[in-house]
């Protein structure tokens, strides 16, 4: 099963290498990994989607915790959360079929962000299902290039940045 982990780490050089290296070395499968700084510039948040049974996920968590720069880790798979991914799709688009593409873009509430002579770049955000759907809706036109960010996620409700419920404090 796929798990979504959000990991707070110190924003220091080499942290990403440590985490990527740990996954590779111990044979864990990273589905996606997105990283960026948080409201505190000294801390970054990673959203890692990893595939594995409960035992594997437990080990992933414990091994991650052993890294000195990992501050807090939460498996939010079963918690209420919002997750988003962004995709950029460059698709073949003769002037003749642009209308049809624009309709699809409309339906998915995506945006056209660049127009070339024979192609368009479309930007969409959403959860994984929506992103997969727009990609397959555009495939018949001929996709030239796809870039996806990987998932970012945030728990719903009043959680503080260290993952604890503020009400409970």
């Amino acid at each position: 099963m796929k798990h979504t982990l959000t990991v707070l780490v110190e924003n220091k050089p080499g942290v990403l290498t440590r985490i990527a290296g740990l996954f590779a070395r111990r044979g864990y499968n990273i589905e996606s990994l997105a990283v960026g700084r948080t409201e505190n510039p000294a801390i970054s948040r990673m959203t890692i989607v990893v595939e594995g049974d409960d035992r594997v996920i437990e080990q992933v968590g414990k091994q991650l915790y052993k890294l000195i720069e990992v501050i807090k880790l939460t498996d939010i798979t079963n918690d209420e959360h919002v997750d988003r991914e962004m995709i950029l799709i460059k698709v073949n688009a003769d002037p003749a079929i642009r209308g049809e593409i624009m309709q699809i873009v409309e339906i998915f509430r995506a945006r056209i962000v660049d127009i070339g002579r024979n192609s368009l770049i479309i930007e969409a955000t959403g959860d994984e299902g929506k992103i997969n759907a727009i990609e397959s809706a555009l495939r018949p036109f001929g996709i030239k290039e796809v870039v996806r960010t990987g998932k970012i996620a945030m728990a719903r409700g009043a959680k503080s940045k260290n993952g604890r419920n503020q009400e409970a404090l």
């Binding site: 780490v9 110190e10 050089p13 080499g14 290498t17 440590r18 290296g21 070395r25 035992r55 437990e58 080990q59 414990k62 091994q63 915790y65 052993k66 890294l67 000195i68 720069e69 990992v70 501050i71 807090k72």
Partner: protein
């Protein structure tokens, strides 16, 4: 205080009470070596290869319980540390390694003797640092010692670029370490400890399995108290040898692949197995699915990632062994377990460690037994890796913690002699014996020079079979006796080799009658002494658990049952 990075580092090491640095110089650590000249408190021990510097630091750490320190230059110096660091990492030994690095403006350009040592050692250190700015140095060195020596100990590496080491700055010592992401759990969960007390009150066939964590948390007294109070027999892992006195009636010696028959039988028949400061390594469990089939498993360890990793724990307790045992001792009542102890006595009688006749030919087991008797189990014994290591574990009879120093997790040949150098410096009044094989010894025998320079009266007990006999043994059992790549035909005369070092003594044991007199001479001469023991290459280590067998399916010494 205005100091260079290098001077600040040395000053810090002095403040940490570091007495020895094991190292090897080079272009990128000139500033460090220069600063060392000014230190009256730190002695630099010049080794013969950087790997030996880590091993020596590790030997020092294991005797003292404090981090050992080593230095190497950038590039090849740094890569030579790799095996030593991995060895220390696998055995959770606190070591701080300092490497030189090319100047920060050259990093990343494939400069002369540049190597990405922080990248290379990421998986084999507890943590590592590249110091890019000299102002970060005070915090980094403070953190490095803290991380190496607390929680589950381990090696930490600091990569110090040449220009950072040379740069003058305003050094102010750091008082306190603040690491948001590093807070080891010391106190075990009270409810879990209470549960363990409950399990002990019900168990009829309890067994304690003690590992290296009992030694690193200085908990051997507590372990003994626990065992005696509840009358639970104690077996130890290789790393745990010395954590429980082997002359104690409750001692079962080592378990596992080459464990004692009675320890392995006890594991397979106990109803409660308490693993303390150990990690259920595959050399301990053999086939995990057949391990301790009747037992509830309790696992006490400071590293949560060890719990449930190899063997599922019915009751996990994360915490420092000493804390946990202290709490546990307050909550338990005496138990007798008479029937169980009777059963164990019967196994000890029917299936002792056996190796047959020791009078008609020179047997290595006999040599180690004698060594144990003559030193009353009180020497510090280091080993290399091979048959000699297993016989040492089986026959020496360890009674003192921090007295058995071996590469357990990585099984690194070449560990024994440099580790003995570190051990002897750590404990100058102790008798230190390095038990080795001709294969392992030749990996780091250059350290005879280090031992000579440092005037160390080490004893090197070389069990010489002109073969890599543990591998030969594997080929005997697993490759249909097709021996490949395991025979040395170009060995030197080791006695002559030893005596070519100024002041060193070389002795030889060829017959059983030689054993006692030669050992007595060696142990009492106060000199660096190598004892070349000419043993057969046909010896096998028994018992041995066959590949993927259960522990009680071990092959016993043929004809040894009583």
């Amino acid at each position: 205080m205005r100091l260079t990075g290098a001077q600040a580092l040395i000053k810090f090491l002095e403040e940490e009470n570091v007495k020895y640095i094991f190292g090897y110089p080079g272009g990128s650590v000139l500033a460090l070596y220069d600063a060392l000249l000014e230190s009256s408190k730190i002695t630099h021990v010049l080794v013969r290869q950087e790997q030996a510097a880590v091993h020596a630091a590790s030997g020092y750490a294991r005797v003292t319980g404090k981090p050992g320190v080593c230095i190497a230059t950038s590039g090849p110096g740094a890569t030579n540390l790799v095996t030593g660091l991995a060895t220390a990492y696998m055995d959770s030994i606190p070591v701080v390694a300092i490497t030189g690095q090319v100047s920060t403006d050259m990093v990343g350009t494939d400069a002369f003797q540049e190597v990405d040592i922080t990248g290379i050692t990421m998986p084999i250190t507890k943590h590592n640092y590249l110091v890019k700015n000299v102002d970060d140095l005070p915090v980094i060195i403070k953190e490095a010692f803290h991380i190496a020596s607390t929680g589950r100990p381990g090696p930490v590496l600091i990569d110090l670029p040449k220009n950072v080491a040379g740069k003058v700055f305003d050094y102010r010592p750091v008082a306190k370490v603040e690491l948001q992401g590093y807070k080891p759990t010391y106190k075990g969960h009270p409810a879990q400890i209470k549960n363990l007390a409950g399990l002990l009150a019900q168990a009829e066939r309890p067994l304690i399995c003690s590992g290296g964590g009992v030694i690193s948390s200085n908990a051997w007294e507590d372990l003994k108290e626990l065992a005696e109070k509840v009358n639970a027999p104690v077996t130890t892992t290789l790393m745990g040898l010395g954590s429980f006195p082997e002359d104690h009636p409750l001692s079962l010696g080592m378990l596992g692949l080459h464990g004692t028959p009675y320890a392995n039988y006890a594991v397979q028949n106990c109803d409660l197995l308490i693993g303390i400061g150990m990690r259920f390594d595959d050399r301990v469990t053999s086939a995990v699915n057949k391990f301790a089939p009747q037992a509830k498993v309790v696992h006490i360890d400071i590293d949560p990632a060890e719990i449930g990793k190899n063997v599922a724990a019915d009751l996990p307790i994360v915490g420092d062994v000493k804390f946990v045992l202290n709490e546990l001792l307050k909550r338990i009542n005496p138990r007798r377990n008479d029937a169980w102890l009777e059963q164990i006595r019967a196994w000890k009688k029917s299936h002792p460690l056996a190796y047959g006749d020791n009078q008609s030919s020179l047997r290595p087991q006999y040599i180690l037994q004698k060594l144990g008797e003559l030193t009353k189990g009180k020497a510090i014994v280091t080993t290399d890796v091979g048959q000699h290591q297993m016989w040492t574990a089986q026959y020496y009879n360890f009674t003192k913690p921090r007295s058995f120093i071996t590469s357990g997790g990585l099984g690194t040949m070449g560990y024994g002699l440099p580790a003995a150098v570190g051990a002897q410096l750590a404990s100058p009044d102790s008798l230190v014996v390095a038990v080795t094989g001709d294969g392992s010894f030749q990996m780091n025998m250059g350290e005879l020079g280090t031992a000579t320079e440092q005037k160390l009266p080490l004893k090197i007990l070389l069990l010489n079979n002109s073969h890599l006999c543990l591998v030969k043994q594997l080929q005997y059992f697993n490759s249909g006796k097709r021996y490949s790549g395991v025979c040395f035909t170009g060995n030197p005369d080791f006695v002559k080799l030893a005596t070519s070092y100024p002041g060193a003594v070389g002795l030889r044991i060829e017959k059983p009658e030689d054993v006692e007199p030669v050992l007595i001479e060696a142990l009492s001469n106060g000199k660096l002494t190598l004892i070349d023991c000419c043993i057969s290459d046909e010896e096998l280590v028994y018992p041995v658990v066959p590949n993927n067998g259960a522990l009680d399916e071990m092959i016993y010494y043929p004809g040894g049952e009583k």
